[in-house]
Amino acid sequence: MDFLNGLVVLANFVLIPATSYGAQLALGALGVTLIYGILRFSNFAHGDTMAFGTTVTILLTWWFQSMGINFGPLPTALLALPFGILATGLLLVGTDRAVYRFYRRKKAAPVILVIVSVGVMFIMNGIVRFIIGVGDQNFSDGERFIISARDFKEMTGLAEGLALRTTQVLTVVVAVIVVAVLFWFLNKTRTGKSMRAFSDNEDLALLSGINPERVVMVTWLIVAGLATVAGVLYGLDKSFKPFTYFQLLLPIFASAVVGGLGNPLGAIAGGFVVAFSEVTVTYAWKKVLTYWLPESLAPDGLVQLMSTDYKFAVSFAILIIVLLFKPTGLFKGQSV
């Protein structure tokens, strides 16, 4: 019984939150890694792209709610999501035409494109704040819990509760579907294959007749989809605020680099590595250990490696360690 109680505490406070956070990071990191692989620069505007997609989705969600449209037990935001993706796709392709294409034609060095993306980031930052403001926005509706902590206790008779929120499960399910579709697209379709060819060797791809502008446009559209889905899931599960999306850039880049920049599989693994490290390093293990260890060994202190204030420091530390020992990341990506 004690073992089960310990397991429930661990699942409630570590496994479930870290899994859904990991899925959100993985989706964000996939977008970053695709741009790096195909367009060959680190896109610092990614966090704000997520914020833009989420903003459009939120506005449409409110509109749907005001008209009485809902999605039963699921959040209405899922209905608005396709329109959010569409708007974000238009914005990204437009940005590419207006800004990035100019530098691509001049064959600008990647570092110049990085700085350009910082400029784009500030502009998107402003657009998002101009549209929806700087405050917290809550747009989650539908059933809040699949199992609440109290129901779980009553059902199982255990001393500890386990809460499972709808948004947590939704995050993981949607992430799995999106990733499956993405890999099918990259590996099986003609366009996907031409994208990979372009990523592997640009000159060879051009010689074999691949249209670079088309590859670039498809990439931006896919990135728009990934960024909007990641942003909306994060906002549903936690809350939406432009500044927190800007801050998400760090763990997302950490995930992409840890997994290996340019490698989609690595981005997913990296997302979960970063999420689980952030949560487990800052978790106070006292309660779990009290359940699992014999009474004589039960800890007095909190058994917390680091205060939760240092969450972001964990991402930084992982980033630095991986870059020192394995510059190409866990899965073989391009070195930075």
């Binding site: 409630n12 406070f13 779980f152 509760g161 809460a163 939760t308």
Partner: protein
């Protein structure tokens, strides 16, 4: 030409000498920043007291008082210092009502008020760090809000009365949160209680599940949330309820607000807290005056602002001078017993009494009683959350 200039200069001087003195009071609050929603009613409170004295027209033999607003940004020490500097050197203010947040209040006091010898009465800075027990403030700083050291004792009393012996504690990571958390922890442990963990949280995050995980692991009967109602405090409570970590919360003054009830809903029932408040006659009188003047007198720290401005002007009258060096020593005299009790709306009467040499005891809107180094003793209103509303339990 020269003669004309001389003549006009002479007339200007004459005119100046003939009219009575003009007293200026700086009202330095965070009109921008995290408290921007409550500062307008605070400033209106101070201006109400000024208008009342001007209407009587008897202060210091017919002096007129002008309130000058200045922005301290609540959390922007640079802005606060620059504003205070400008008001003192440029506008020539005689005293300051302000600042509002503890950090900037300390900055104004150290960098501007003390070097220039100007009296400051803050209506809302509650950090224990501002209690200058060894006269580090040259006797210039007072506050009509109680120190959080006092709130720490009040929280301890409330928890003990309810038989709670072990709590987890989380605080917003700034001067206010840290000061209150430390004060409470010291008081609670001295009374025999246990604080299982004291953990900071940052405001403005999307996700507090990691913070709550640590708090839950430490355990405790009640979670004391020394945060802000629209910020991290709300997030911590939501995450605690979601994960079933805690279901009873203690809410200090920063966590009192209708927006919390709206955001959390039924989960908050059974929680309790306290905020500065009094059931004295003055509070009701003040609210009447405020509604007559067209603003909300129940808004947080509005009454304290009225009292701060009133104390400054009454101390000037008691000293017979508007110079800070003269009247600083009289602030405690007019605020405390013995003397004729003075409620809001009776400032004209108070001035007459002081002129006649009668001692007064300013009660004002918040039952002002200055203790120790010149801060309010503090009255608190204890409340329960019941059926989705704040229900007053008692006054302490």
């Amino acid at each position: 030409m020269k003669k004309l200039l001389l003549a006009s200069a002479a007339t200007a001087l004459l005119a100046g000498a003939a009219s009575a003195e003009e007293i200026k009071i700086g009202i330095i609050l965070g009109y921008t920043g995290p408290l921007e929603s409550i500062t307008p009613a605070m400033a209106q409170g101070a201006e109400l007291a000024i208008a009342e004295v001007n209407a009587a027209g008897t202060l210091l033999d017919g002096a007129t008082v002008t309130g000058i607003r200045g922005d301290d940004g609540c959390i922007d020490a640079g802005l606060a210092t620059a504003t205070a500097e400008r008001l003192i050197t440029g506008d020539g203010i005689n005293a300051i009502v302000g600042g509002d947040c503890s950090g900037v209040t300390g900055a104004i006091l150290q960098n501007v008020a003390m070097p220039n010898g100007v009296v400051m009465i803050s209506p809302s800075a509650t950090s224990p760090g501002l209690s200058h027990n060894n006269n580090e403030d040259n006797g210039l700083f007072f506050r009509t809000a109680p120190s959080d050291a006092r709130q720490g004792v009040v929280i301890t009393d409330i928890l003990n009365d309810r038989g709670i012996k072990s709590v987890a504690l989380t605080y917003t990571n700034n001067d206010y949160g840290k000061g209150l958390a430390d004060a409470f922890q010291a008081a609670f442990e001295a009374s025999g209680g246990t604080v299982t963990i004291s953990a900071a949280h940052e405001d403005g995050k999307a996700d507090y599940s990691a913070e709550v995980a640590a708090l839950a692991s430490a355990g405790g009967e009640v979670l004391v949330v020394a945060g802000y109602v629209d910020q991290g405090g709300k997030g911590v409570i939501q995450a605690s309820l979601d994960s079933g970590a805690f279901d009873t919360f203690y809410l200090p003054d920063g966590m009192y607000g209708d927006s919390l009830l709206a955001a959390i809903g039924d989960g908050l029932n059974g929680s309790f807290g306290a905020l500065p408040g009094t059931d004295s006659d003055g509070a009701g009188v003040y609210q009447g005056l405020a509604s007559a003047a067209g603003f909300d007198g129940t808004s947080a720290f509005s009454a304290e602002s009225y009292d701060a401005a009133a104390l400054i002007m009454l101390a000037m009258q008691a000293a017979g001078s508007s110079a800070s060096a003269d009247f600083a020593a009289h602030v405690m005299d007019v605020a405390n017993a013995p003397g004729e009790p003075i409620l809001p709306g009776e400032l004209a009467k108070a001035i007459e009494l002081l002129k006649a040499g009668v001692d007064i005891d300013y009660i004002g809107a918040t039952a002002v009683e200055l203790i120790g180094p010149g801060e309010s003793a503090g009255n608190y209103r204890e409340y329960d959350v019941n059926g989705g509303a704040f229900v007053t339990a008692k006054f302490r």
